[in-house]
């Protein structure tokens, strides 16, 4: 399959899956095909895609696309026929739903309380995100403020190019800089120059 066809079908698939959760009301029998009939490799691919959305009634949890059973193969043939006749995905799924009930759709259509399963995770993400943000922005509680003494104004604030006066402290600082920055002897490039 050419790259362009791949990209196009991928985009179409993305758009279709985005649109598959429409606010569909009780489906009325649709007499007229709505979509454009695909052909060739695209027909195969669309058949597989819609087959993956239908539950094989005689299997345990398998989709029509995956199941080897006779029923599944008959259903797949029907999907293919309907696609070739120009019906679109929602019409085909609604057709099977008329016979088998909502059970046969592996992806919950957007109706009734089904919005909960589609938007619940997003809601949880927002709620959880808010909790995380709150946990990370939490201002210091009064106890902590008292524990941390007010910073003294240091006339000689430390920087990377100076070492403390105390010799043992200076040695430790040099050692840390050697490990952390890779400076030989822990002297900064500025110090050396």
């Amino acid at each position: 399959m050419t790259l362009a066809a791949c990209a196009l079908s991928a985009l179409l698939a993305l758009a279709r899956t985005a649109a598959t959760s429409p606010l569909s009301t009780e489906s009325r029998p649709a007499a007229e095909p709505r979509g454009q009939p695909p052909s060739g490799k695209l027909l195969d691919q669309r058949t597989d895609e819609i087959g993956a959305l239908l539950r094989c009634p005689v299997c345990q949890g398998l989709s029509v696309a995956d199941s080897p059973s006779t029923m599944a193969r008959n259903m797949k043939a029907e999907v293919r026929e309907k696609l070739a006749a120009g019906y679109d995905q929602e019409q085909i799924l609604a057709d099977f739903e008329r016979s088998y009930g909502e059970f046969v759709r592996l992806e919950p259509p957007m109706r009734g309380v089904n919005w909960l399963v589609w938007f619940g995770p997003a809601g949880m993400l927002l709620a959880g995100g808010a909790v995380v943000v709150w946990a990370l922005r939490r201002p210091p509680r009064p106890g902590e403020e008292k524990a941390a003494p007010a910073p003294r104004r240091d006339p000689d604030p430390p920087s990377r190019d100076t070492v403390p006066a105390d010799p043992r402290l200076a040695a430790a600082v040099r050692r840390v800089r050697m490990l952390a920055y890779g400076w030989p002897d822990g002297t900064s490039p500025k110090e050396r120059s």
Binding site: P57, V58, T70, M71, N74, M75, A77, E78, F96, E97, R98, S99, Y100, G101, E102, F103, R141, G143, E144, A147, A148
Partner: protein, 190 residues
């Protein structure tokens, strides 16, 4: 490095309830338990048919062994019993006798069999051996089974004279069940 807060230690024994934790926990636990309890005893494998109360899907199928095709539309005006069956299905064999007997006595009702995923020669032989009093139709591409939402065999549909499905019965029928469901169909359905 880290400022040390006083940890609770074993001294904070006063049972003060953290309401937030309790409420959040119950908000998750109670609905979950309620849903599970509500579904106890339900069999997830028996799916109710959405076709009950709706017009029966039309079909036009050829009988086993050949002959003129039978269309559902031509049977308007009297109750119809459609029985999906197969020779490899043990309960179908069990109910066959009851169905054949009922079809003989109840002449105002049209009994039909539709063969589900089976071989025509084998079906013909079965019917010849066991005898039958009503036609069985071949559903070669399985479309009629799909249209009727068949999950397996045997499944029997009772249709009223106006062509609406009044009940779907899953499993082997006996004479009493046939009679009681037919009275529903004759009464024009609910």
């Amino acid at each position: 490095m880290a400022t040390t807060l006083t940890s609770g230690a074993g001294t904070a024994r006063a049972p003060r309830l953290n309401r937030k934790v309790l409420v959040a926990g119950l908000a998750i636990a109670l609905p979950l338990l309620a849903v599970l309890v509500a579904n106890l005893g339900r069999d997830p494998h028996s799916v109710r048919s959405p076709l009950v109360g709706r017009p029966a899907p039309p079909f036009r199928l050829v009988p086993v062994g050949g002959g003129a095709p039978v269309a559902l539309a031509s049977l308007r005006g009297k109750p119809v019993v459609i029985n999906f069956w197969a020779t490899w299905c043990v309960p179908c064999f069990q109910e066959h006798a009851a169905l054949v007997a009922s079809a003989r006595t109840l002449t105002g009702v049209q009994f039909l069999g539709i063969v589900y995923e089976d071989d025509e020669a084998r079906t013909g032989e079965f019917l010849r051996e066991r005898g039958t009093s009503y036609p069985s139709l071949m559903d070669k591409d399985g479309r009629t089974a799909i249209a009727y939402g068949v999950f397996g065999v045997p499944e029997t549909f009772f249709i009223d004279p106006q062509g609406r499905i009044v009940e779907k019965y899953v499993g082997a029928l006996d004479r009493d069940a046939i009679l009681s469901l037919l009275s529903l169909a004759r009464g024009g359905g609910r």
